[in-house]
Subunit: 597 residues, 2 copies
């Protein structure tokens, strides 16, 4: 099983040296996030993830969750780890102090979430879903709802879910069948079946707060007729504690490819008592608060599984002896050389490293935007919100696609042993495979990016980002060592705008052109975004080396990995560009029947 | 679970219309392979695979193989299906009549193997390994060994294995530890441990014939000191039947990501009686006979899993209702349109279709070469052997890489349901994931292609193929509808040669340049090879349409899929070209320690 060590050096590099989060904290008035506090969170968080969560990852996969007569039992140790997590105050780290949180910046919550997800993705689903529910209640709940539910969720004694999908619909929420019938006391009777509900039922908390999409009897058709309801497993009693059991039950759990220790539940609502949250028929807007949060988290899963896989692969490549280097023996005292001497093994490791560290930079970049978006400067907050809206589908889809590639390469480095369960490498790929699917498939993310965000804003959201890249390229155009790569980034950045213009023109004539280009457009966007972030890291690394940094090997490694990214991975933009420009003709020509010929 | 239907129409298109295998059969004197016989094999084979093997695929995955005290039990129904297969005479289809086979062309054996592997990959491993052992004994065994073992293997009452890998070595067979000590009676006492032995122990046959690599006491070091031995589980008695138990036993079976119904065994040889096959210290050559056979079969696994996945995905895309087409409702009487109306779903399906049908064409192309290589015309046979040597690593690696992409897309079409075991889509991806690893990892295939085959022949083996492509492009240069694509193929074909020359020059200065470029070089080669085969199919389809073919929709579908391949997939050559030319600098610069920074 790959042993997990939190990559604290890389985290600090981004935190302190590349993005200067301390300055952001000062600007947004996050005075509690002192350097000491940040260090404590990184180090204590790492300890918890390495020592408590990581050892439960393999056993959790083998045991899975068990369903018996409506009761779900999580794997051994999961409940105890959750108790320790709550005890340590981790759950409310970035939550509102008005409801029991510690009020630390959101970026710190994401840093912690990376470590949790890398150590044990399945376990991380339980607090992850809770955080999503907390965001929605915080943004849309009444004060009474916040006092009743948000406080308990923040504390972690209760956990949350988001109940969207039904057997006949996932993407297409406009056709949900779950009904909410108004009751005399102002509550609603919720009836219907929801599927794929992560953490829908389990044994880790005293109560489970379901956020459920349902339709009122007089609701308009489609997505404009969906409302959001709070449906607790146990109704709060007079003291606000979990009281009478509500009419919600878990009918079964799914047997899945991976994240087996995360309970994926069929939830039956049988005239369950629910409370409207936010306005009637505006449920989808409220749900998007949760989903945007969740999409950043899901994107990060690609990084988490990728990081764990990389750590395992590097260790194995240093230990496994097989064949001699083509340039002559490197370990002549041993029967063969460690496989890390072979160029193709290095190609695989560097691909993993370049994606992981690029994706981590993207995570921190968005984390910083999240802080600014929650900060006091309205103008900067609005700008950050726009950038977040633009980057969220890229984070979700690009990071999960590349994360899947990384976990597959990690298996490949292990050869046959990568396919054997006990080594833990194949679990990482199985766990990662859900990430391009859930929280809106990557195809949906791509439509969101190109259709809704970019073309829907007449290119404004794109220009908000390409302008930043453009300014960076102008500022670094004469960089003595990096100017070649800066020029390449500038070229791709300009090409991005031109591609978008052509697609916009085509889409005006034929709406299918958006769907025909969207996934390749998103992947192109992801590669360029990472190129920008890799150069930002390289500029810092060059400066540190020039200033005589003590840990020169770290910075040199960054620069080599940046070279590798530009030489070996960024050229994939050419393939995505060609595909994005190919148009919809060959896609739309066949009848449905012809596909089966 | 995706229901499997053998793609007989596509098979006949390649068989009769594109490659004209009947003409090949006439040329090699395969008079038994009459059109009636071929039809019977295709139809009866399809029936057996669809009705007997496919229904055991999901249950086989869930049950897996069980090990108890050295005895391995295969999933319910596996044994009975094998008995039926033997009864039907399928096992000896392409085997030598001198030892009980039917002597039909090898290409027919591959056609059958595609259907078997698509219906049930795990089950197909048992006859697959047996065929490998049969090839090796046929090529290198003594007449007595053939009479004793090959007859039983052909009949299918006994099955075979290949025992290469040991705990400390897989790729690097030069360092194996298994020892063979000569005995007074001319036999050898074999001692050692082999791992990852597919079909090493099971309950489907009366005896298991292990082909084992081991070292003689006085053997030279490295791969030149390896010999091959026949080590039967039960020693043949006087009547040639399975007699006394030999000193070989199964210590355990592996728990794997997929192909769970294929028993992957740890085999312990404890002074087991073995018989030298072929010459002493030439075992690796003998083993390569098996491996080349096995590599074509493994490459086909990408096609098999991909085909099964595609069939499931097309059916689901026609049934699943979700969202309206962007151009307006297509099924206004239903709550939503079937997802096959969405361009991005079509992009995924066409990617799957283009790879599957391209990979099938590659399979039939090599199958035809296999027939010619076994045919009576020595000059043509030698030419076919060279082409096979060149194409084998491409088949193995390109078809498994793309097969893995196809099975992943198949899951993606299903959305969340793709991740759930009962639908069967995720099993196909798990089963497929081994194919880029076993029978020589794809990294090893790439070194074999670029280092051994292409540069090792001073480019001769490459030119043997690019010349064929060049002639085809010349002949079709003025094709009224296809000339644009012909020109693109000609450009890439020429570029292939130029790339090879540059890599050859670089490799002369630095051997690491081969390993640095090899995988991207192989993928480039695969995309160009498939482009050639797609155009061969397109030329036939155009001609059939011009001649007023009755099943015009089939041919039109071929042409659209060809367009899609050229527009959307072939441009990936640009990315692989850039990566292959990037050189070894950024790969080799880091110390082993720096990878962990």
């Amino acid at each position: 099983m790959p042993e997990y060590k939190a990559p604290l050096r890389d985290m600090r590099f981004l935190f302190d040296e590349v993005f200067d989060l301390p300055a952001t904290y000062a600007a947004i008035g996050a005075s509690d996030a002192t350097p000491d506090m940040v260090s404590a969170i990184l180090e204590e968080g790492a300890k918890f993830c390495e020592q408590v969560l990581a050892p439960l990852n393999r056993s959790g996969d083998e045991e899975g969750c068990q369903w018996h007569d409506g009761v779900v039992t999580t794997p051994k140790g999961f409940k105890e780890a959750f108790a320790q997590y709550i005890e340590g105050g981790w759950n409310g780290l970035a939550a509102d102090p008005a409801y029991g949180g510690q009020g630390l910046p959101h970026s710190l919550g994401l840093v912690l979430a990376e470590m949790v997800g890398s150590a044990n993705t399945s376990w991380g689903m339980y607090p992850g879903l809770t955080h999503g529910a907390m965001s929605a209640i915080h943004a849309h709940g009444s004060e009474e709802q916040k006092q009743t539910y948000l406080t308990k969720l923040t504390e972690g004694r209760w956990t949350g879910t988001m109940c969207l999908t039904e057997p006949h619909c996932g993407t297409d929420l406009g056709i949900i069948k779950t009904r909410a019938v108004p009751q005399a006391d102002g509550s609603y009777a919720i009836s219907g079946t929801k599927i794929f509900i992560s953490a829908g039922e389990h044994d880790m908390s005293q109560n489970i707060v379901h956020l459920v999409l349902a339709k009122l009897p007089d609701a308009p058709a489609g997505t404009k007729g969906i409302s959001l309801f709070i449906v607790p497993k146990f109704l709060p009693d007079a003291a606000g504690e979990a009281g009478q059991r509500n009419g919600v039950s878990c009918g079964s759990i799914e047997h899945k490819m991976g994240i087996k220790a995360s309970a994926t539940c069929v939830m039956n609502f049988d005239a369950a008592i629910g409370y409207l949250i936010g306005e009637a028929n505006k449920g989808l807007n409220c749900m998007f608060t949760m989903m945007n949060h969740a999409r950043l988290g899901t994107g990060m899963q690609g990084l988490c599984n990728g990081e764990a896989s990389y750590q395992g692969a590097v260790r194995y490549a240093n230990e496994r002896l097989q064949m001699r280097a083509l340039t002559g023996p490197k370990a002549p005292d041993k029967p063969a050389d460690p496989i890390i001497v072979h160029p193709d093994v290095r190609r695989m490791l560097l691909t993993m490293k370049a994606f992981n560290e690029g994706n981590r930079a993207l995570t921190y970049f968005t984390a910083q935007l999240l802080d600014v978006a929650h900060g006091p400067d309205a103008e900067r907050a609005a700008e950050a919100e726009n950038l977040l809206a633009f980057l969220t589908p890229i984070c979700k889809a690009f990071m999960t696609e590349t994360g899947l590639e990384v976990t597959s390469l990690g298996m490949q480095v292990f050869g046959g042993h990568g396919y054997i369960r006990e080594w833990g490498m194949e679990q990482l790929m199985r766990d990662c495979r859900i990430a391009p699917i859930y929280e809106g498939t990557n195809g949906i993310q791509a439509l969101d990016l190109l259709g809704r965000k970019v073309l829907g804003s007449q290119g404004k959201l794109l220009r908000g980002f390409t302008k930043i890249v453009h300014k960076f390229c102008q500022a670094q155009a004469e960089h003595p060592q990096l100017k070649g790569q800066v020029a390449e980034l500038a070229r791709l950045n300009q090409q991005w705008g031109e591609l978008t213009q052509r697609l916009g023109m085509a889409a005006m004539k034929n709406p299918d052109e958006v769907g025909a280009a969207s996934v390749d457009y998103l992947m192109y966007s992801g590669y360029v975004t990472l190129a920008y972030l890799w150069l930002r890291m390289a500029v810092v690394a060059k400066a540190k080396l020039a200033a005589g940094a003590v840990d020169a090997p770290y910075y040199e490694t960054k620069l080599v990995t940046c070279d590798f990214y530009f030489q070996r991975l960024l050229p994939r933009t050419a393939a995505h560009l060609a595909a994005a420009e190919a148009g919809s003709d060959s896609l739309m020509k066949l009848s449905a029947e012809q596909f089966a010929l």
